[in-house]
């Protein structure tokens, strides 16, 4: 495409965007979480993803690849005039290759939403965030204030480091979601301060 416009024009200002990832398995309440606090009704963006085909590679033959469309729900919160916080829910499928790199690149942190009756669903997310060193918090989505397990049991079952908060919250409640996100931001702050002082994050 040929350039048709002069570049000598003043640029319109835009807010600085930051993001927090809301992760977890199918049906745990990621979209509910985003919807509870987002200024806009959650939008859905779809992405094409290439995944390796099932089967055995044979020498000289192309690996079967299939493309899948994954959907991510997201919302945003205006922090102030020049700063917007985006909340991106991860696709429900737990194997998603490089899409997670795009999702998490430059993120402040992540909230891993857990349904206490289906803890294993969050393992891929917990593993991934630990590997890339992204600050995260486990949020147990408690329905009507009741948990299937208490938080200590959840912590033990997930085998995560003691430094990672496990909090109960209600994904339908705006202020409860806000508090869970504040827990994520506390972790992000701790890491940033540790890096500033030269310590291990």
């Amino acid at each position: 495409m040929d350039s048709v416009l002069s570049r000598e024009q003043p640029a319109q200002r835009a807010p600085v965007p930051v993001k927090i990832v809301v992760a977890g398995g199918f049906g745990v309440g990621k979209t509910t979480t985003v919807a509870a606090i987002s200024e806009i009704a959650p939008l859905t963006t779809e992405a094409e993803m290439t995944s390796a085909g099932v089967g055995v590679d044979e020498p000289g033959m192309m690996t079967g690849k299939t493309t899948t469309t994954v959907a991510m729900d997201f919302g945003c919160v205006t922090v102030d005039r020049s700063l917007k916080l985006y909340l991106f829910g991860t696709p429900g499928q737990s194997r998603f290759g490089f899409m997670w790199d795009d999702l998490t690149k430059g993120a402040l942190g992540a909230l891993v939403v857990v349904d206490s009756s289906r803890l294993d669903d969050c393992f891929p997310a917990v593993d991934y965030f630990e590997q890339i060193g992204l600050p995260f918090v486990v949020g147990v989505n408690a329905f009507h204030g009741r948990l299937a397990h208490n938080l200590q049991d959840v912590r033990w079952a997930l085998a995560i480091d003691d430094s990672i908060p496990v909090v109960a919250y209600d994904a339908r409640d705006r202020l409860s979601v806000r508090d869970a996100l504040l827990a994520v931001l506390d972790r992000a702050l701790a890491k940033a301060q540790a890096q500033l002082s030269g310590g291990r994050p």
């Binding site: 600085v16 965007p17 779809e46 705006r174 992000a188």
Partner: protein, 146 residues
């Protein structure tokens, strides 16, 4: 739906296989059926692959350059629509969602429109996620929510 092409998007850039992908067999995922009559997503980009621009991320803010509005007529319909929604600052993900375009397609078209001078991509405004002042601003902003 298989995707045929010379380029493998997973080979582009510095992508590595996530360790846990090798740990267990791939889970079959449901395929979505394309809407009848709708163009396949990468037809819009002449088959180009979204290995794309590392500085065009999901949340990257895009604005339309004012002088572009008088020159929209020559653009394909999807690209005119993109410029139109960028009248106010908007993220790449929002562009894709509102116009029902796939994310990869959107990134490519935004990159094209930037190169042609229709859009401003505010990638240099992105902060480091470890920027303490920014984290504190977000914390204070969320605490102020009623």
């Amino acid at each position: 739906m298989t995707w045929a092409g010379d380029e493998d998007p997973e080979e582009g850039g510095s992508r590595r296989i996530r360790p846990f992908l090798g740990a267990s067999p791939p889970v079959p995922v449901p395929e979505t059926e394309p809407e009848p009559g709708a163009p396949r997503p990468f037809v819009l980009t002449s088959g180009r692959v979204p290995v794309a621009h590392p500085d065009i991320g999901l949340e990257t803010q895009i604005t339309a350059r004012p002088h572009g509005y008088s020159r929209l007529a020559g653009l394909p319909r999807e690209q005119q629509a993109i410029v139109a929604v960028c009248a106010e600052p908007i993220s790449v993900a929002e562009i894709a969602a509102r116009l029902h375009l796939h994310l990869g397609v959107t990134k490519i078209l935004v990159g094209d429109l930037r190169a042609a001078g229709y859009l401003e991509v505010h990638s240099m405004d992105a902060v480091q996620p470890t920027d303490i002042d920014t984290i504190l601003r977000v914390i204070h902003g969320l605490r102020a929510l009623a």
